[in-house]
Symmetry: D2
Amino acid sequence: MSMIEASKKSFDKQGFMKTLGAEIISFEKGIVKIQCTLNDTLTQQHGYFHAGVITSISDVACGYAALSSMPEGSDVLTVEFKTNFIRAANTNTIIAKGEVIKAGKTLTFCEGVVTDASEKIIFATMQATMICLKPTE
Amino acid sequence: MSMIEASKKSFDKQGFMKTLGAEIISFEKGIVKIQCTLNDTLTQQHGYFHAGVITSISDVACGYAALSSMPEGSDVLTVEFKTNFIRAANTNTIIAKGEVIKAGKTLTFCEGVVTDASEKIIFATMQATMICLKPTE
Amino acid sequence: MSMIEASKKSFDKQGFMKTLGAEIISFEKGIVKIQCTLNDTLTQQHGYFHAGVITSISDVACGYAALSSMPEGSDVLTVEFKTNFIRAANTNTIIAKGEVIKAGKTLTFCEGVVTDASEKIIFATMQATMICLKPTE
Amino acid sequence: MSMIEASKKSFDKQGFMKTLGAEIISFEKGIVKIQCTLNDTLTQQHGYFHAGVITSISDVACGYAALSSMPEGSDVLTVEFKTNFIRAANTNTIIAKGEVIKAGKTLTFCEGVVTDASEKIIFATMQATMICLKPTE
């Protein structure tokens, strides 16, 4: 099983991604995009996408971008991330793009960007550190 | 309406908090605790609490801790946060405690800690910056 | 006095930038580059550039990128930043490029990248939030 | 050589710490304090301690707090950190306290706090991730 297939299989096991209605819309080695559509289960107090939703899909996009770059049989965990909320996500659909900046043996640095459906208006940016759990661990 | 009442009212408007089954369990000026119980709509790939759930309730606990310290009529938005995932949240109930470190006229610095139900095992720590939207804005 | 001139004048007042031997090598609205050359007053325990030096020039590049985008007479302070250390800065010269991602009335989000002299090898990335101190404040 | 002795020896190799006039004033397993006194080589544009100085000594305090908790013969590198600047460091002496929150086999999470000499007024807080370079690596 390729790491892309493994990443998709792992994604399907995440109950929380179903809860968000999140879908992988693009998957290549080192770059993963996840999309999510607004409904009233995902809102903050003004009716926009909740910061937690924005962060969650960005984290997962970064995590699978990292996993897709790791040796077969690896698993991935989030060490830490930081999210900047650039503007309110007053839109119907958001896309999180996670990208590997540097893939190391143990740690992988990723960047996430969350935009509207046109991928032009930036709502949030993320820096994330992922750790590789090796097959034998 | 006091800022504590206003904070609770704002919390109830957040559709995403209902989705998480999150509840405010403690509310005083500058310190807010939010609790969340595991079910399979909140999991990551190993069946533990998703990093996104942990972050979301910590963000909201910090946000209302900040709001409860602001002038009446204010609203609050998250500027940015960073979360460290100290250990896997392999537990049934998590509690996020958000606390104000410094309340400024415009910006409020908060710290969040997410623990198990005993509040002794730390799963994650957060640093968050909140901005005050003033009544007249 | 233009904001670029004001930024340069402010830079010259920073005693710590002299200590680092840091120089502004490029200055346009929203993008500032600062360069620093290694000597044994700037090292960590392996003789490479210290993480603190890397962070300091990136912070300042972001700060003046932000200031150059603000109204005349403004001043700028760093609210917070996060730095990722991608690889050891085992090189003779580093360049920090600070860039404005979103300039707001109060807060400005910036990104910093610290590279070698060719601007191709990335040593560190930064996300920074800057606050505008308005002329009348 | 104990890890505390090794940490002190490593500190003395950091040219940049000499440049800052930084001194270790307290060293126990998991908690390290570093002090620095203001002079005009360490200032930002208003004459206060530069954010880069504050961050540098906090990073080093966290790094040696981490190293002092690692197996003998280890070395430590900073993976990433985030610093919040709570208020301007308008004071003569700053103390950075670095503390281990969780020491893992590979990664160690630390928190830093930078205060005035009384250790009561907080200027900055830091969250830092350190990585252990094992003796055999």
